[in-house]
């Protein structure tokens, strides 16, 4: 039984079966591609084979001549005059004058079968005039680099920089040069990370239907049904309220399903085909070429340290390209890379750069893994240089509650030191290491986002409870929300059913992103439940003829609050539910807000590796994740977030990368070549859940989903350094790169 300073819990902290488990182990759960609709057409998308090209002409005559082809859309079918982010979304959905990356959609077609749609797509003739392109972030910043688009840069960018530099981020405090002068050791290094993909196993899929009047419906795998509604409507020039979006079960998202890709194309095709529903399912290669991925990064870090390990100053410049549109998560890379420590003086500069690549989407703690890779790697190198223990140095500089973060704000309640304590006490640190083996440690950080949240719950006639939330369940959030509601009501976990609502039945909700579902929807569900409890107490008070304030709720029943309230037997939720039809009608509770009291989460990972000197291959021997969850409502799914984040980080560190040829075409657009970690690549992933309760949440929850992907990149680089003496500064540390570095040693 979990407890905090004041309370013991009956359900919170237990590990019951998740409510949607049965559907998901029997194949009944319906995901994006599992939907069909009467009269449904299939859509296919024509994509640019060039990294950068002017679209001279699109001729669909041959495609439209095929029997069974019902509609073709190009940019001409979308409204003109959009600006800002709406224009970005539209331009990324379907290219206008120019294709901006390999895989950029230029046309789409709907037909009566999948094969026919694919055949028709091949018959759509697009004439291109190929233009010079640029892929690498440092190349894209050069003054003579091919220009993706003029006029994108905002006022933060100094004059004289390439138009591909679209935003400059700057913050700092203190005098860094003086801090470096006072340090015993100053080191600087440059680091690079390549773009990776979220790699959810379920490709994007939707069924969209829209009439000429702009009324429509969509079934789609998404992290956020309201985002789909808002973005599709913006791109199509229709009213958001006229589109009803139902989220399917979702086969992974990791941030990559918080935006739109082919969804507006399905709606536009449907509208042009007389309102017949259109289904579009992406292939894996479309997913890799045209959705996601992360930004790639090029980073310089300079650190000053005293002999005792105290950090005295830091200077960083991060350059990140996020594809052909603004939005590389450079500021988050800076914030999170610097978050764990007090540095003394800070000078931080970042650039958001555009290049001829797919528009980056959020990927689990966007930016943080890159920033941590750079800072934690250099920190490790300095510990080696000064002969200091890596964990001791982290303790010495760790931020605590109330400290000011390097980027400005003060931390609320945090549990970084407690996390480091748990690392220190873990038996993995005592494991003996053999030849070619090494241990790496690194820390990481991510925020907890609140976001627009609307939840409603209703008492059923039998006294059970239905909760409607707007955040799709990607990894067990139905279970954690049901646990919190049942705990609050004092009823059985099984008596709470959590539904994921479509856009017609709740107020606006932001997606399941920013590690917010269990925090924000969970908090709102508890507050909605408290509203219903108030009403149930009122019903009991009316029945007993006493004041509602004289009634309290405990263990699933209304009870007189004290001896003065009178002597009445408890009135259970079942009795209240059964009678509500005649005591005043349905009982429900709802809550809408931007929930306050977010709780951020620190983590630290320790990995032991063996590097094969013959092949350069890195084998992971042991892996430990320690992270502050605030409170783990359902510990198995918290552990799952830790393990999943670690595995993705391991893939990023060791194997995964977008590989382009000299024409800017993606070379590895299938899973065979874009190699994510397999079961045979990994050991068991040990976890420790640290619980420093978040005072801003009724059960102490922090956001836990994202921090876990951040430490693996530097932890692995530090372990490879320990095993080989070689500092890898460019990810991924694929066997060939490590081997080359070993040979150059």
């Amino acid at each position: 039984m979990a407890k905090d300073e004041y309370r013991e819990f009956r359900l919170v902290g237990t590990r019951p079966d998740r409510p949607d488990g049965l559907d998901k182990v029997t194949g009944r759960a319906r995901y994006g591609a599992d939907m069909t609709a009467p009269g449904m057409l299939w859509g296919a998308v024509v994509r640019s084979p060039h990294a950068h090209a002017r679209i001279v002409k699109i001729d669909a005559t041959k495609a439209l001549a095929l029997d069974g082809v019902k509609s073709v859309v190009t940019r001409a079918d979308f409204p003109e005059g959009l600006t800002g982010e709406d224009w970005n979304l539209q331009e990324n959905t379907i290219a206008g004058e120019r294709a901006l990356y390999d895989g950029h959609a230029v046309a789409a077609v709907a037909a009566t079968s999948r094969f026919l749609a694919e055949e028709a797509a091949r018959l759509i003739e697009v004439e291109y005039e190929v233009l010079p392109h640029v892929i690498d972030v440092d190349e894209a910043m050069k003054p003579n680099a091919p220009v993706i688009r003029e006029g994108v840069s905002d006022a933060t960018v100094p004059e004289g920089m390439s138009p591909n530099v679209v935003r400059k981020i700057e913050f700092g405090n203190g005098d860094v040069d003086a801090a470096f002068a006072a340090a015993d050791l100053v080191m600087e290094k440059s680091f690079k990370t390549e773009a990776t993909h979220q790699g959810y196993i379920e490709p994007h899929a939707c069924v969209g239907q829209m009439g000429a009047d702009g009324k429509g419906e969509m079934w789609v795998c998404t992290q956020g049904q309201w985002y789909i509604r808002k973005m599709c409507s913006a791109v199509l020039g229709t009213e958001a309220s006229q589109l009803r979006v139902t989220p399917s079960e979702i086969g992974g998202g990791f941030g990559g399903k918080t935006t739109i890709f082919m969804e507006p194309l399905a709606l536009a095709l449907s509208r042009k085909a007389g309102g017949k529903p259109v289904k579009i399912v992406m292939s894996r290669s479309e997913v890799l070429r045209a959705t996601g991925p992360t930004a790639s990064a090029s980073m310089d870090v300079k650190l000053g340290m005293k002999k005792d390990g105290t950090l005295s100053g830091v200077k960083v410049e991060f350059r990140m390209q996020g594809g052909a549109f603004p939005g590389a998560p450079t500021e988050f890379a800076l914030y999170c890379g610097l978050a764990p420590y007090t540095f003394g003086a800070v000078e931080a500069v970042g650039y958001d750069v555009i290049a001829n690549r797919p528009r980056c989407a959020a990927y689990r703690a966007p930016g943080a893994p890159m920033g941590s890779f750079a800072v934690e790697s250099l920190l490790d190198e300095m510990c080696i240089e000064l002969g200091l223990d890596a964990l001791d140095v982290r303790f010495k500089n760790a931020v605590v509650t109330g400290d000011r973060a390097a980027y400005g704000p003060k931390f609320g309640s945090i549990g970084f030191v407690e996390t480091l304590e748990a690392v220190k006490n873990h038996p993995n640190l005592l494991a003996e290491l053999g030849p070619n083996q090494g241990r790496g440690i690194a820390a990481g950080y991510w925020f907890n986002h609140n976001g627009e949240t609307s939840v409603s719950m209703a008492i059923s006639e039998d006294g059970t409870v239905q909760v409607s939330v707007g955040t799709p369940d990607i990894g067990g959030s139905r279970a954690s929300i049901a646990l919190m509601v049942a705990e609050t009501l004092g009823i059985a976990y099984e008596d709470v059913r959590v539904n994921i609502a479509e856009t017609g039945s709740l107020g606006v909700n932001e997606p399941t992103h920013g590690s917010r579902a269990t925090f924000a929807s969970g908090k709102a569900a508890v507050l909605a439940t408290e509203a219903a409890i108030k009403e149930m107490c009122k019903r009991a008070a009316n029945e007993w003829g006493i004041e509602p304030e004289a009634v309290e709720w405990k263990d699933g029943a209304a009870r007189p609050a004290g001896p003065n309230a009178g002597q009445f037997p408890p009135m259970t939720i079942k009795e209240i539910g059964a009678a509500m039809g005649s005591t005043g009608g349905p009982i429900s509770g709802h809550h809408e807000s931007l929930p306050d009291g977010v709780g951020a989460s620190f983590g630290a990972h320790v990995v032991d590796v063996e590097v094969d000197p013959e092949t350069g291959r890195t084998t992971i021997l042991r892996y430990l994740v320690v992270q502050d969850a605030g409170r783990a409502i359902h510990p198995s799914y918290v552990e799952g977030q830790y393990q999943g984040g670690a595995a993705q980080g391991i893939g990023w560190a060791l194997n995964e990368e977008y590989v382009y040829d000299d024409k800017g075409r993606l070379q590895n657009s299938v899973f065979l070549d874009y190699r994510v970690p397999l079961a045979s690549d990994l050991p068991m992933i040990d976890t420790v859940i640290v619980e420093v309760p978040n005072p801003g949440h009724p059960y102490g929850v922090r956001g836990v989903g994202e921090t876990g992907i951040t430490p693996p990149l530097p932890a692995l680089a530090n372990a490879v350094r320990a095993a080989t003496g070689v500092r890898m500064t460019h990810l991924p540390m694929s066997p060939s790169k490590v081997l080359a570095a070993l040979k150059a040693r």
Partner: protein
């Protein structure tokens, strides 16, 4: 291209459908027979989300043509539970929280059942290599491997 009439057995039931000769068994299962439990994660044999057995052999149904199902005995995730009783693997996957999004789950269950049918006492390493053809992006495989080992122990009659 004209369709071909296919008669086959799926999860013990006789089933007939018309297959486009280019169509995969996965597409036929999903779009012609209405069994959408098998998933497409890649269509190139790399992710295992489409795993089924054909005459007892574990295959990626995205690499088999629908017309090849003629006269075969196909087993899919929909046939794994017996009536209302889950297979121990299904139960253990839920118990161990071996699924997050659940998209890889049908394929992993079909694949791990094929393993335990052949080898009732796999080592951790054997489990990891057997399911190396089934990608899971959510879990890091830890809980999946534990669930499979635990189900194997239960099937052998060993107390957990």
């Amino acid at each position: 291209m004209s369709n071909i009439h296919v008669t086959t057995t799926i999860n013990g039931d006789k089933v007939e459908f018309l297959a486009d000769p280019r169509e995969t068994l996965l597409d036929c299962l999903r779009d012609k027979v209405g069994l959408t439990g098998s998933k497409e994660g890649c269509g190139t044999g790399d992710c295992g989300a489409c795993s089924v057995t054909v005459d007892g052999t574990l295959v990626c149904s995205c690499l088999v043509l629908g017309v090849e199902a003629e006269g075969k005995d196909i087993r899919t995730i929909e046939g794994m539970a017996e009536g209302g009783t889950l297979h121990p693997l299904q139960r253990k996957f839920i118990e161990h929280a071996a699924l997050q999004c659940g998209f890889c789950t049908p394929g992993l269950l079909v694949a791990s059942k094929a393993l335990l049918d052949k080898n009732p006492s796999p080592t951790e390493e054997e489990v990891r290599y057997w399911i190396a053809g089934n990608l899971c992006r959510c879990t890091g495989y830890d809980k999946i491997v534990r669930a499979i080992m635990d189900a194997a122990a239960e099937l052998r009659g060993e107390a957990a």
